[in-house]
Amino acid sequence: MSSYIDCDSYFLVFADCIPTRGAKNSTICDLTRTTLEVFPSSFYPFFEIFRKSTVKEIYIDLELESHIEFTKFLDFLLEKEYGMFVDDLDLFPELEKRWESPELINNAIVDVRLRKHDFGVIFDQLNSLGCVYVQLRCFESLYTIQELSDVIKLAEDKSIQSIELIIKYHTSFTDQDYVDLYNDHVLISSLFVHSAPENKVLIADFGYKGEDQILKQEIHREIHFYTMPITGASHCGIIDAKYFSIGDVQSFMHNISYNSCLNKKISIDEEGLIKNCPSMTHDFGSIDDNILIDVVAIESFRGVWGVNKDLINVCRSCEFRAVCTDCRAYIESPDDFLSKPLKCGYNPNDGTWTDWAEGKEHAIVHYGIDI
C-alpha cells in the first residue's frame, strides 16, 4: 500500500464535504454530489488536525501502528474526491455555518377533508407573511377539478411561488382533466393523486411541441398516481435513511441551525385550526377567528423553530442529525418535548436500525396511530 508519509502539503477537505460526529459512527455529507458516507468516529478528529498540520506532520505525530489505518482513511477521502492536497489552506475557507431568509413564513400546509376553507383569506394572509411554498393535501375528494383550479387561481400574483398538490383520485375525472389542471397553472410544482386504481405517471408538457431536448426536459412534468391512500396527517414523521435531505448548501445550513421541518412553517389543519404542523395536537385557534400574522407573533409558536437536533436527546449524538428532518409531532415520550422522534428506529450508540414501533406502545396509544 502506498503511503502519503512524505507529503509536505495539507489535506484540504472541500468546504462542501461536511463531517458530522456521531456516538459510534460519523458521516461526511457531500453537498455537491449529494451523497452521504459513514465512517468510524475514531477518524473524526483528523478533520480538525487537517486544518493545522501537513500530512507529513500528522504521520510523525501518529503511533506507528496507526499509520496503515490513517493511510486507508486518506485513500477513502481521495477515492470519494472529498478533498485534495494543497500548499496553502488559507485560500480555501470553510462555508459559514449560517442560514437566513427574508420571508417571515416560508411554507404552509393546508389540509382538506370535509371542510371548505376560505382560500381567498388564507392566501391573502400567507402573502402578507411572504409565504413562498404551499402544500395542499386533500384526504377526500371534496373539490372538483374545476373547484381546485379556482382555488389555485386565488394564489396567483402573491408571494406564493409554487403549490404542491396532493389530491384523492375520483372516477369522474379523466386523465386529461388532471393534465389540464397541471398545464393551466404554472403555480403547481407537483401533483400527486392518491387512492388511485393503479400506480401510473402522466406527462404534462404545457403544450410544447418542439424538438429541443433541453427545453423538453425542463418543461416535462410528471403527475404521479398512487394506489396507496393518504387518509390523514398521522402518516407523517417517519425517520428513515430514504428521507434524509442531502440537498444544497442552504438546506444543509438550515437543517443544522433550525428545526428544518417546522422553521418558518405554518399549517391549517382539516378543521381550520392553526398549528405549527397539522400532525401536532396543540393549536393556536381557528383561522375563522385569528389572523395568521398574529399567530406567528406568538413566541411559543416560533419557539419550536429553533429546536435543532443538538437540543434533542439521542439525536444530538447521531451522525445523521445534519441531514435528518426530525419530527416534533410524534415523539418517544409525549411528555418530554426534547425526546427523540417516535418513528425513528435508529440507535446512534450501536449504529443499528430496528423497527421503531417496538416497545413504544405507550406513545402509539397516546397519539392514536394505526400501524
Binding site: D16, L95, E96, P102, G130, Q250
Partner: protein, 327 residues
Amino acid sequence: MIVINSISKDHTTTEVIRWLIALGVTDFVRIDSDVEDIEFVGYNGIDSFIISKNGIPINLFESKSYWYRRGGAISFFKSKLKDMKLSQDLNLEKKLIGNISSENRALNDYIKQFVAHRSPVSLGSYSNSSLNKLHVLDLARQFGIKTPGTFVINTKKELSRKLMENGPLITKAISEGVSIYNVNHSYYSYTEEINESDLVNISDVFFPSLFQKKVDKKFEIRVFFLGDRFYSMVILSQRNKQTEVDFRKYDERKPNRFLPFRLPAEIELKLAALFKALDLNTGSADFVVDKNNEYFFLEINPVGQFSMVSYPCNYYLEKEVAKFLIN
C-alpha cells in the same frame, strides 16, 4: 426611494427586493425594461422628473438609492407608434422611426444617468454595462494583472503559426457569446479549445476572432465585487474533460465544486484598481489559476449572475446588495 433597473425574469433582482422588504424598505420601484408598464410623464429641469409605473407617478428627484442591475431602453412610444402613419413614403417612414428610436434611446440614457447622479447611493452602471473585452485586458495588464496571451486572427495560416508557438489556444466571442433559441433547438457558444487537429475544419480566411493561449488550469476563480469587498469562489473542474475549457458545460454525474475562496490580497488590490479605472463599483471577474499558482485574469462582467457565487458559497450576496442600497 430606491430605483432598480432590471428585466422581468431576473431572479436575483426579485431576491434582493425580498431582502429590501425584510429590512423594512417599502419605498422602492422596479423598472423592468422588457415590461410595458412604464410611461414618460415629464421633466421640468428643476425638481420634477416624472415617469409612471402602472399609472402611478414616480418623481425621480426623490431617488436616494439607485441600482442598475441590467436591462436596456424602455420604449416610451411603442404602443402609440403602431397606430401612426408618419409618411406615405415607406423609406422616409423607416428613417423617421429610426430617428424616434434614437431619441428614445437618448432619453432613456439620460434617465439612467440622471438617477445615478441624483442618488446618494448608486450601484452598477448602465453606461459601462457592456465592456470591451480586449480593452479590459489591456487595462488589466497596465495594473500588473497577468492575462493569457491574446490574439485576434482571421487566417488559418496565422492561426496555425500561433498554435505552433503557443500550443493549444482557446477561442471565445469578442463581445457576447451566441445564445439563440428557436422552437426546436437552443444554440449556445462556449469557450472552446482549438488544437492543430481543428485546422482541417477551419477555412483559410474567417471573421477576425479572439484567441488566447490556453492556461494549464489548476482551477477557475469567479469574483463578485461589491462596493469595496470581494466575494470569491473557486471552481474545481479540472478532473473532468467536459468542463476543462468551460465550466458552464455541466457534467451531472461529476458536478464541479463551487467553493468559497480567499483571493490573495495582492490580486484584490490590483483588481480593485481595475474596477475603479472602469468606473464600476460592482461586477464579476473571472480568473484561471495555473499549476504554478499564477493568476490569469480573463474578463469582467458588469451584470454577471452573482447568485451563482452567492448560493454555493453561502455568502447571502442578495442581502449584501440590499444592505448596500439602504446605506
